[in-house]
Amino acid sequence: MAPRKTERILNLTICLLVSGRFVPKSRIRDAVEGYHDLSDGAFERTFERDKDELRALGVPIEVGSFDPLFDDEPGYRILPSEFELPAIDLDPEEAAVVGVAARVWQHASMAESTQSALAKLRAAGIEPDTSQLADLQPSVQASEPAFEALWNAVITRTRVSFTYRDGAVRTVEPWGMTSRKGRWYVIGWDLDRKAERMFKVSRISDQPRRVSRAGAYDVPDDVDLRRLARSLAPPEPTATATLAIRTGKAPSLRRRGTLRPERGTDLRPEPVEGPSTGSVPTDATASGPNDATDSGDSVQLPAGFEVFEVGFSDVYPIAEEVCRHAADVVVLDPPELRKAVMAGLSAVGDVGEELRA
């Protein structure tokens, strides 16, 4: 910690806050004790850094030269009306929920920012009670190493460059960040691709570097993070799989699907007219395990299975999900899904054989 520096910056703040009008730089140098012993060059550099630090905290330092006596050098001031937290009135119930916010962030600097916000509310006479609502424990994680640099870039509107997992260096104007299933994404304008892009923060393999000053670009007014986040969600189903699912198993597939009406234990569909079906269903009594065809339409399943229609868009994600349930889910249709599932199962079974051998 640097108490002298803290003193100097605080005294500078008070000096600019109490004056009411623009204070010329020369007078600031005289008035603020921490500047007294510095050479001209050192004063200039220190004063610039101090102003930057205050602005980074959100202190509104105005520059002007309205004082006719000092119109050849810039003056500085802080207007109390711009500096002060506007009136905010929370009832006890509202203050209680705000108090819970103190324990949400599981990331040091984000927790510190929240703590600082609550300190301001307390200083304004609001008493958030952090011991309330102990039975609610919301938490937000941000364990990705690149998170903090990107967050700061979003807040300050600063361009950043980073290496993405494909090894390419990307330069981005970050507009915002979104967390989905506990993973952070940064959304912004990709200057190389000249397009809106979303990057998974965990796939950034180095520390993002600032490549512009703060406030270097504007975020489009119509940026909708929720809409962009939704675009991460699995695409809408475009095809339908027919799956036989053992009773009580694979609830996630069941819930997404629709149950086909039962016709006893024989699960074959109504005969379909025309030659395109590729198979002619045989009589139920005659059907055995060996009369199946490629379409899977005329299979007689063992007892305890129900048939569901489940929508999907890509074969591989649903194939993974079906594989996971092994013998509890049978793909009746389409054949390419069954092929993918059986290939996956064979690979798992073969690995087992190989390790046993």
């Binding site: 916010a101 301001k120 009746l332």
Partner: protein, 322 residues
Amino acid sequence: MTSQAQVRRLLSLVPYLREHDGAKLTDVAEAFGISVKTLRDDLNVLWMCGMPGLTPGDLIDIDMDAVETEGKIHLSNADYLPRPLRLSNDEALALMLALRTLREIAGPGRRDAIDRALVKLEAAAGGQTTRAEVSVAAGREEIQARVADGLQRGKRLDLTYDVASRAETTRRLVDPLRLFVLDGASYLDAWCYLAGDLRTFRLDRMAAVEVTDVDVDPHPDVVLKDLSGGWFASLADAPLVTLELEPWSSWVAEYYPTESVSSRPDGGLTVSLRVSDPAWLTGLVLRLGGGAKVVAPPGAGESAAEAAREALDQYAALGLTA
């Protein structure tokens, strides 16, 4: 701590102490989330500050005797700092994301309070408060509302739940104890009468919930997990499993907490992770369809291989071909 963080805190500390004359050191430290030692350091800086000139009459006055003897703080002569600095974008966003996350598990009445607080904070912040968002897999709205209601009123829940590791749907009575959000999903800790033990349920796997009229029993001996270390900490005692991942399955290393990850020359990864439930491992290996090989402990991958062979035998018996 950086000087910047200290400046930020002192600009709130002055109006706070003006508002709370005679506040105890320990209370102030707690309100600001700092140690008493840090607070004393802050006071030592503050009383060196004041109006330009810094004559004794210009300095912020702190009664250091009262600090030393009574542990109480009296601050005066700082009329120019009656209010704290406005919220920065950073603070406003951090606070609002926290509140929006809380909203995902709050009961109906509390939700209204959160919405009102958000509107007021947004007005006070006046800046960009929509630059970040957190989405939580909280399940269906009415399920969330019923669970939160049962927790708030202390009523037993009749729960229909999908057990992920066994891929089955079950029905049970539970006493709700705590709702939490971790890694973007919301969960209920509850005493489960089916298991006769503490259980954790994901809200988005609840198929149905009814709030019963029965009051929950007291469960004085139940100790809820400390969530501050995330899932990782709660898995610390679970057995270590080593997997060899094909390049196309390397997302596993990113998605689940791992103990170690190393690259192999073929572009794949060797990872070790803690696994508390063998059924979970079986499900993962099946799902990866050959993209993961369990190399240790020996035999840990066998149940997945067996399940796969059983499924293939069933396809063969049904006459279904690839």
